[in-house]
Symmetry: C2
Subunit: 195 residues, 2 copies
DNA sequence: CGAGATTGACAGACTGGTCTGTCTGGTGTA
DNA sequence: TACACCAGACAGACCAGTCTGTCAATCTCG
C-alpha cells in the first residue's frame, strides 16, 4: 500500500476536495471526479466518509485551519494593533487574486446549501465566529494600547470591521478586482483615526 | 389557449424561475421542476428559452427590475440625501427577513457559476453597477446639499457604502440575523457625520 | 359566414449522460 | 487470516434537451 512517507487515501481525498470544491463549487463537483483525481477507489472513499455531505464538513474543517493559518501568518508580522488590523486587509488583497477571485469557501458553500439546519451551515457559522473573534481581539488590543481612545466600543467596531471584510471579499469576488478591499481598508483606517 | 386575462406560459416560467432559482439555487433547480410548477409543457419551455442558462439570464433581468423597484420605492419616501442613504439600510433590514435570509440573488448565482466570461456573470455585474450608481447619486446629492461638507470624495465614499451594503447582506444571510445590516447602517451614519 | 390552414400550447416518451451510493472481486501487506 | 486498498460494474434517480403527436383557438380567404 502506501508507506508512512506517502499521503494516505484520506488525506488525498481531503486535498482533492480542498481544490475541487473551492474552485468548482460543491454541487458542481461529483464524487467520481474527486475519487478519480485523488486516485482512490470508490469503496475506499465510502469507508472514510459516509456521504458527500460529510466530506464537505471535513473539507470546511480543513479549510478553516488552512485559511486562518494564512491570515494569522500574514498578520502576525505586524507590531501594533492598528497595523495588524490594516494587515488583515492587506492579506485579503494578496489572497483574492491568488485564489482567482473565488472568494470565501464558506460563504460559497452556504450559498449552495440554503437549508440552515445542516452540519455544513454550522461549520460556516463556526468559521465566521472565529474570524469575528480574531478581529475583536485586535480591536480590543487597539483600544487598550491607545489610552487616548475612549469612545471606542470594541464590539460595535468589530462588527463594522467584520462587515467590511465580508463586503470586501464578495464584492472583489464579483468584480474580479481588489478595489473593494482597498476601499474597505480605507474605511477601517478612517474608523481608527476618528476614534 | 389562454385568454388575455390569464398569464402567458412565458410569464409563468419566469415567475416560477424567480421563486425557485432564488429559494433553492440555480444548480439545485431542474428544468423538470420549473415546467411542472409553471404548468407548462417541456416543448413550450424550449420554444421560449433555448436553454436553462438563457432562462437564468432572463431570470436575472427580471429580478433586477423587481429588486431595484423595491429599493427605490422604499427609499423614495425620504426627503434628504442622508435619510435616503440610511433608508437603503432600512430597506435591507426589512427585505432580508422577508426573503428568509436568502440574500442577494445575483451574488448567489455568481457563486454557483464560477466562470467569469458568461452572460450570467455579465448580468450580475450590470446589476451591481446599477446599484453602485444609485448609491453614488445619493452621496453626490448629499455633498451638494450640504455646503459645509467639503472633504467628501463621492466616488470613494460610495465605494465604502457599497461594500457595507454587500457585507451587510452576506453576513446577514449567513447568520440569519439583521445585526450586520444594523452595524453597516451605523457605520454609514458615522461616515456622513464625520464628513 | 364558414372551412381549411396555421399557431401555440399541451402531455409525455425518449436519449444520452451524470449523480450518489452499493457491491463484488482482486491484490498486496502485516 | 485479516485488513486496507484498488478497479470498476451496477442500481436507481435525476439531469438537460429532443421529439412525436394531440388539441383548441385564431387567422385567412373564398
Amino acid at each position: 500500500m502506501y508507506t508512512s512517507s506517502d499521503i494516505s487515501p484520506r488525506e488525498r481525498i481531503i486535498e482533492t476536495a480542498l481544490r475541487l470544491f473551492y474552485s468548482q463549487g460543491y454541487l458542481a463537483t461529483g464524487i467520481n471526479q474527486i475519487i478519480s483525481e485523488a486516485k482512490v477507489a470508490k469503496a475506499t472513499f465510502y469507508t472514510h466518509f459516509p456521504s458527500k455531505e460529510e466530506l464537505c464538513v471535513a473539507y470546511l474543517q480543513a479549510r478553516h485551519v488552512v485559511w486562518m493559518g494564512w491570515l494569522e501568518d500574514s498578520v502576525s508580522g505586524h507590531k501594533t494593533a492598528e497595523e495588524k488590523l490594516i494587515g488583515v486587509f492587506d492579506f485579503l488583497q494578496k489572497w483574492m487574486p491568488e485564489s482567482n477571485f473565488r472568494g470565501c469557501a464558506f460563504l460559497n458553500i452556504a450559498t449552495e446549501i440554503p437549508a440552515i439546519d445542516t452540519k455544513i451551515r454550522e461549520e460556516v457559522i463556526k468559521h465566521k465566529d472565529d474570524l469575528q473573534d480574531y478581529l475583536k481581539e485586535i480591536i480590543e488590543d487597539f483600544a487598550a494600547s491607545n489610552p487616548s481612545v475612549t469612545g471606542l466600543d470594541a464590539k460595535y467596531t468589530s462588527e463594522i470591521v467584520y462587515v467590511l471584510v465580508e463586503g470586501g471579499i464578495v464584492a472583489s469576488q464579483n468584480y474580479g478586482d481588489i478595489w473593494p478591499i482597498v476601499a474597505a481598508k480605507g474605511a477601517v483606517r478612517d474608523l481608527l483615526r476618528a476614534s
